[in-house]
């Protein structure tokens, strides 16, 4: 089987999506740690357009952008499917994946925002959560139904990181009485054995993100 390498950085939510997908499919891979302040020539060669991680390299061919990588993994290793098998439900899944990409940025913006910007970015993040709670998840156990899927991985990274980012910026958005479905879902998500074994330690994440935020605010 052709070799699989994952170029990534520690504690990146986008990298974790790819790790979860590979682990759920049982695909062995080599993790190539990138220093984001000094990106390797190989990373820049594999992702000349965005120059970002994660990049999956399979048999020497690079795939970039976390959700494009996840669709590639799904198609290349069809065992343990992470997408529905009919076109309409797959389209709905892709809609929510795109929503996670387009609107999930509100969480990263919140992390990077100054005191003055925080109100607006919090509002965006809140709207995103409300839409997902109301229209996306409903009463389902997972976004993908009874089993974990790509949409769960997309939102899993956003919500898990949000729970830490909230503490750091001093916001209280993701409250259980406001988002009962999402709260139940993230607990279920974290207890899936593959996810549980491959989650960044929340304390380590808190320390690392706190430091990063201090650096960002200092240079603002």
């Amino acid at each position: 089987m052709a070799e699989v390498k994952l170029h990534g950085a520690l504690l990146s939510p986008f990298v974790y999506r790819v790790i979860w997908a590979l682990k759920l499919k049982g695909v062995p891979y080599e993790f190539v740690l990138e220093d984001l302040s000094n990106k390797s020539a190989l990373l820049l060669k594999h992702n000349p357009v965005h120059k970002k991680i994660p990049v999956l390299v399979h048999g020497g061919k690079p795939v970039c952008e976390s959700m494009v990588i996840l669709e590639y993994i799904e198609e290349t290793w069809p065992l343990n499917p992470l997408m529905p098998n009919n076109p309409y439900d797959r389209a709905l899944a892709r809609f929510w994946i795109k929503f996670a990409e387009d609107k999930g940025v509100a969480v990263w913006k919140m992390f990077r925002s100054t005191r003055e910007e925080l109100q607006n970015t919090m509002k965006e993040a809140l709207e995103m959560l409300q839409t997902v709670e109301e229209h996306g998840l409903g009463e389902k156990k997972f976004f993908n139904g009874d089993n974990i899927g790509l949409v769960d991985l997309a939102f899993g990274s956003i919500v898990y990181w949000l729970q830490v980012i909230e503490d750091i910026v001093g916001a209280k958005l993701f409250e259980s009485h406001k988002f009962p479905h999402l709260h139940a879902w993230i607990e279920t998500f974290k207890q899936v054995p593959v996810i549980e074994e491959n989650l960044p330690n929340q304390d380590e994440l808190l320390v690392a993100l706190k430091l990063r935020r201090e650096q960002l605010m200092a240079s603002a």
């Binding site: 399979h58 952008e65 990588i69 198609e75 290349t76 797959r90 389209a91 892709r94 809609f95």
Partner: protein, 229 residues
Amino acid sequence: MPINLDTQGLITISQLKETRTKKVNLSKGEVVLLDCWAKIALAEKGVEYEPELRTCLGAKSDLLLKSNPIYKKVPVLLHDGKPLCESTVIVNYIDETWPSPPLLPSCASERAKARFWADFIDKKVIDAVCNIWKSKGKVPGTAKNEFIEILKQLVGALGEKDFFGGDSFGFVDVIAIPLTCWFYAVEKFGGFKVENECMQRETVARILPDPEKVCEFVIMLRNMFGIEQ
């Protein structure tokens, strides 16, 4: 940009007809559709449709609001009453539901490349186009430079090929081509020239609005949004 500008073109597709090469086997039903990307994809698949109905700008139909409660925007595809939104999602669905001729390549790594470029166009190009026509007064140099840089990336991706997909018209071409009818408006408001050789394909030429008309539309929008010319 039709997807962001609240236009509505409603096209009713009745029974699927036999394609040139083989019968597309699909349950009968009404397919109601709004806008260019999906129109081109369906035309490529040999799906015929009836003339469109247009509603006024800003007067969104109950059908649209019910079908896309999250974004309240076009395009929306309704197949047997089930709605789908977002252009790349719709074009993917069309490709899976009517598999011939295929828009996405058969090889997984080429499919990933196609999805990458569709994502790039969706994330970068549309915003860059909007930053130019929505500028009050002179278009900032940063907006122009960003648009040109992005175009250079796309040109690099196309290379010497006839299509982004290689020898045949494909997924990325469907996503990219409706933007080309906006180049004239971008040139006019941005004050620069873009080479445009993409309008030759029959399905494209038949479906895409006339660039002059797009420009008139942009002027109307700028007036509507209170942006000075």
